[in-house]
Amino acid sequence: MSKDIRIRKGLDIKLVGEAEKVTVDATKSNVYAIKPSDFHGIVPKVVAKQGTEVKAGEPLFYSKSNERMLFPSPVSGEIVEIVRGAKRKILAFKILGDKEQKYADFGIKDVNSMNGDAVKTHLLESGCWPFIKQRPYDVIANPDVAPKAIFISGYTTAPLAADSDYVLAGKEKELQTAVTALSKLTEGEVHVSIGKNANSPLGALNNVTKHSVSGPHPAGNVSVQIANIDPINKGETVWVVNPQDLIIIGELLLTGKFNAERIVALGGSSVKKPKYFKTKIGSEVSSIVYDSGVNDESNIRVISGDVLTGENVKPDGYLGYYHNTITVIPEGDDYEFFGWNKPVFNKISPSRALTFSWLFPNKKYELTANTNGEHRAFVVTGSYENVFPLDIYPLQLLKACAVNDLDAMEQLGMYEVAPEDFALTEFICVSKQPHQEIIREGLDLMLKEIG
């Protein structure tokens, strides 16, 4: 049963520096890094020690809580360093990539003849499992719990994020193989949402339930789509997969190789010629960012991911495991004389308090990473609801998380949300509260206490 989802509440943040739809091969990265922190809540147990050689797809580490869950190397090469932080916590595996890539062979599979267990075992062994995340808690899916449905959002609304329709083009075969495999993992349906007027390769898939979505950000967030299609109740689990990761899963099944190749959008107002790059998971962002030059190199913030949910990786950082966008914006760590009361034309504001973004709904802005104010207690009410399309009271849920009230969190709908759903409320927050962090900590507490 397909649905037409129309989202009204929200906010499209229009920024300068959208990637032009041209793809070039990125300069080959020397070193690739896999950061265990990309896999929230996973405690790594090292498999590939420093100095060993790995092939692409061979495990670097497994999860302490589930040793079947393997985390693969995106490339073949030598483990040159395992970076450790305080208390010997592993921060990153650094792999010096071979010139000639060698792939571990996982065997060509015919998905149509596989059953659910076989698919599951194959994905776990080949290291493709971490691409599957679950709700509640927004962590890597627990393979021992059967999901009631699997959701894939092929509609991109986040600012400057890689356009799904573009990066998936031409990959119909891989996508179809991957969703067929996923459909064996659930008794429910595989829901795929695509933009209303989009020409998405996902539109041609079989074995799935298709939905069309329209509206401003966060309409592309999978939580919003889940809430409209089949909301999560207490005790239920659903899985979500990013569409670009379907390609890797599909290719694995079709060729037996773990190919971590990905088309990444480089955008942001600091980039001189924003466009798309073909690269691999874990590659150095500098191999992409400096390709066509950046404006004011000393004052940039390099983000792996989009500006709302990405990670500040610094110019010497690496592309995150789940990211297919790199955004570079000015850092903006400067003072502004009477910035709090003078009329503002160059920033986005949900209000009209001498801020004039409401006059120019189609203008593109060059926002910086400045907070535009200091952290304060929650004061203003009623504004978050305007950008939060879920049937949840955002302020009350945030407060429940802030005071660790598990009962209230459960009752107010914590099972249905992920930190990314609070990116817009965070963006417009007058009190500059760290919403995503509050929600992440709340989810972690629930996971620990309730499971």
Binding site: V307, P350, T368, N372, E374
Partner: protein
């Protein structure tokens, strides 16, 4: 820029020192800080709490300026020195330098004491509790001089401000945590501690109390009457003001509450800028009109006889309630305080409606002090969390019902 760098160096020097919050408060007043995001969303909207509060102050400024002129106008009028206005809002009798001088002389000290003492307490608490100075008092400090009688002694105001900020706000944890509106807490303190200075027919016009004392001392002078419209109505007197006087604001009353037209302007500004809640303002007006209509109905049904002490206020035409007394000011600028109001949109409708409804109820049945809006707002401040609780329960029940349908 020299100043910017100097202040930046000072900021680094004061970092983690005891006086850092005090310094930062001044620094961030001059400059939007250089802070950048370190978790979650990398970009942020343009609004901060300072801008939000500043918008409310901008909405209040016309009321303040009008209040100054009105203070002088009422004084000179009561003393028989000038004629009453004849020419609408821009009457030349009103906008004179003489009037403004009296106003400046009487109102500015109120503003200075309110801000000086209140911000002093805020800075003190910020330094002791090691948090930044929050902006909540910027609005409270402007509201306070506008909601007290013109002749309020400054020492009383200072004590009330200290009480209001400490007991009304800081003991709960500061801005954002308080249950009662701080400005109204200050006014309520004045009202209950010094009732002779807050009600009656002598306090609303500058000089009236002084003159009364002189007469009591044996001087041969005419008494200055300084009765508010509500006071007159409560005592069943004949009104000497026209509806247009009341709407434009040429009447005695607390400093900033008299001009309904400027309050309406402020309300429209707050709604346009999306800072004030239109839901609360609209529902309060509806609540007041409903209560007013009920009373009018009681009168027209002859359930009350003309001799009753409630008759005069009950028979006041229902919509006149909106433009007399402090109703409009309270609803626009104080009922909408986001911290103490209901926080859910549905809750705001209920909260606002009850404020309007109860304001008029108190106004009619409390002739000793016929100003209901202060007490109505304070009462609803207390009940706002309860309203929110039931609204949120609705959402929770919906979620539980969904679960039951699923498992059934």
């Amino acid at each position: 820029m020299g100043l910017k760098d100097k202040l930046h160096k000072l900021k680094l020097k004061y970092k983690d020192k005891k006086m850092a919050p005090a310094f930062n408060a001044i620094h961030t007043f001059l400059y939007l800080p250089n802070e950048t995001t370190h978790s979650g969303s990398h970009v942020r909207g343009a609004d901060d709490l300072k801008r939000t509060m500043n918008t409310v102050i901008m909405a209040l400024l016309p009321c303040l300026v009008f209040g100054m002129f009105n203070a002088g106008y009422q004084h000179h009028l009561a003393a028989g020195e000038i004629e009453a206005v004849t020419n609408g809002f821009f009457s030349s009798e009103f906008w004179t330098l003489d009037n403004l001088i009296v106003g400046l002389w009487k109102v500015l000290p109120l503003v200075i004491i309110s801000y000086g003492v209140g911000l002093g307490v805020e800075f003190l608490f910020a330094v002791i509790k090691k948090h930044e100075v929050e902006e909540g008092y910027l609005v409270t400090g402007m509201l306070v001089p506008l909601i007290v009688p013109i002749d309020t002694p400054l020492w009383m105001l200072a004590i009330a401000v200290i009480f209001g900020v400490v007991i009304g706000k800081e003991v709960f944890g500061g801005t954002g945590m308080n249950i009662l509106n701080p400005a109204l807490t200050i006014r309520a303190f004045l009202f209950f501690a010094y009732p002779t200075w807050m009600s009656g027919d002598k306090v609303w016009v500058h000089g009236a109390v002084e003159r009364a004392n002189e007469i009591a001392g044996g001087a041969q002078l005419d008494a200055i009457s300084g009765e508010t419209v509500l006071g007159a109505l409560a005592q069943g007197k004949e009104l000497t003001y026209s509806v247009s006087d009341m709407f434009l604001g040429f009447i005695p009353g607390s400093v900033g509450e008299t001009s309904s037209i400027l309050i309406l302007l402020g309300a429209l500004f707050l709604i346009f800028t999306k800072i004030g809640s239109w839901r609360i303002m609209l529902s309060s007006v509806i609540g007041a009109l409903v209560m007013g209509l009920i009373f009018n109905g009681v009168v027209s049904a002859n359930w009350i006889d003309e001799g009753s002490k409630f008759y005069s206020l009950m028979s006041t035409e229902f919509w006149h309630h909106l433009i007399i007394g402090g109703f409009a000011f309270g609803v626009v600028f104080m009922a909408t305080d986001p911290v103490t109001a209901s926080q859910t949109n549905k809750g705001k409708w209920i909260y606002g409606f009850l404020i309007g409804f109860i304001s008029i109820l108190i106004r009619v049945f409390n002739p000793a002090y016929p100003e209901g809006v202060m007490l109505a707002i304070l009462l609803m401040n207390v009940f706002a969390p309860t309203i929110d609780h039931y609204v949120i329960q609705g959402n929770i029940k919906k979620r539980m019902k969904r679960l039951k349908l699923k498992t059934a």
